[in-house]
Subunit: 336 residues, 2 copies
Amino acid sequence: MSKQFKEKFNIVITVGDEKGIGPEIILKALSLKELHLKSKIIVVGSKKKLIAEYKLLKSIGTKRLKNPEELEIEDITNSNFSKEMDNSGNASFYYLQHAIEMVQSLPKATLVTGPICKKSWAESGHHYPGQTEFLAESCNAKDVGMLFTAKSPITGWRFNTLLATTHIPLKEVPKHLNKNLIFSKLDQLSNFAKKFKNNPHLKIAGLNPHAGENGLLGLEETAWMKETLEQWSDLNPNIKIEGPMSPDSCWISSAKAWQKEISEKNDGILAMYHDQGLIPVKVIASNYSVNTTLGLPFVRTSPDHGTGFDIAGMGIAQCQSMIEAIKTAREFSLEL
Amino acid sequence: MSKQFKEKFNIVITVGDEKGIGPEIILKALSLKELHLKSKIIVVGSKKKLIAEYKLLKSIGTKRLKNPEELEIEDITNSNFSKEMDNSGNASFYYLQHAIEMVQSLPKATLVTGPICKKSWAESGHHYPGQTEFLAESCNAKDVGMLFTAKSPITGWRFNTLLATTHIPLKEVPKHLNKNLIFSKLDQLSNFAKKFKNNPHLKIAGLNPHAGENGLLGLEETAWMKETLEQWSDLNPNIKIEGPMSPDSCWISSAKAWQKEISEKNDGILAMYHDQGLIPVKVIASNYSVNTTLGLPFVRTSPDHGTGFDIAGMGIAQCQSMIEAIKTAREFSLEL
């Protein structure tokens, strides 16, 4: 790590799985000058592979690419564990591991992670449901939160959705939900929302269709969820909460707030499970959504999509979510 | 039932639960002249209560209301079971029961149902998870399907989502899914889609986050879903199917097709459970979405929202979904 990195505000970006679209979206995103204006960007990956990707994309006519020769690259190819790096699953794991160390040792540093392949991680012996869980373990962070955030390019409103449960099978979801978890997630979401507004308004989705329709379509809402929300609300009188709401109407106002200035604007929604939150996030915010981790000692963001193995190397990957991830990392580091 | 009803194309509309917004959205929707042009509309409910609702709404300045005196009303107040009708749960059940009989006895007839309250039904001794299930029982229809359909006012594209499971608690969903159910639902969805296009393109959502990510986040997709889709595809070579898709990206192209002419247009999506399908339907199609039942001997549609008890009588209920339900009932009766 060169000395100069320690003297500026730093954004450390991992390339993720090099067989996917990570390198492409990074080279595309970093061609935007504004991303370099207020910060020092350091890419963690293989310089050799980034140059190869750049040449490949250039050869097929891809435009607006940053030349890796002009980037600060923390080149892991030259490190001690270079022999293990031919496997892109292994490599992407070590890039992240190294990037976490960098971010923790640098002042004013933030982390942006490119997409990895969970299966390739597992095949290389790295058994984590996702990067978030490895980050939590590495930082001894017990209560991390997976928050999806997007700033509407139309209204400027920031759309936030926190997941109560994350990368678990659907059938496991009801077993994982309980009062302690909801309290912890509401604390996380409200602490985040309070950085932007003194009296935030939060929505909480129910678990069952129509939020259980008074116990007819599921018992969790009447058995403990309503009471849990009331108890949390009593302890947090300055925060307006609504819920448990019928999941199918919980995000309707967010869709309007994304499009129109004059509409109700909530400050965050707590979703009970991965797809309950991610389906509306991706439909409403499209490429503008960013995955960020709450509860770490530093800001971490990531594009909200996967490795895109099927379109890698074709020059057609959208880099908007990576651009937003970098912008959001900088914004949150300054504001939070 | 007067004789003249038998001579024209008939749309039978139930008012639903009279304590909710059903009567209001019907009076608002039926003020649109175009809905009366090609069909005879018959409202099933209490004439007295419809007139009272009309007067109430008029008194608070609500505009564009159809005067119930100008409507054909099948007035259940005067029927034999009038004593039981003070309870709106009971009343809404009998309106539906009577309307089903009307639709089955009339030629070229179709049913549009106003929203009911499942809890009020249950409290009145009518134990059905919803109107769809009562309709199925009444018509001896074994395999009914709950399809949400909406025609984009921007592109004219029809957005269809069929639910594999409907009004059951979330924790029951994985137990209900199996090969036979998926085969039956794909048959239903493809038969519907083929009325509009010879070679439809269908998408099928997975059950787990990232469609299980190769078994890491749930086993159903690798254990039987993929194989089931392959087998069904072999039997239906003229239909293009995609799936099991990651649920959080399954509806992204639909959001684009709703907004823009130039975009991939699918002909239908099969969702594994209520909120997986309804969350994107309501976010994308907003008030334009209509609930329709496949597998009945007649066309049945319904607005996609609930009774709105909290806003009833205030004159602020949106009637767009009811308008769409009536238009769709007519369109499907002509086309299907």
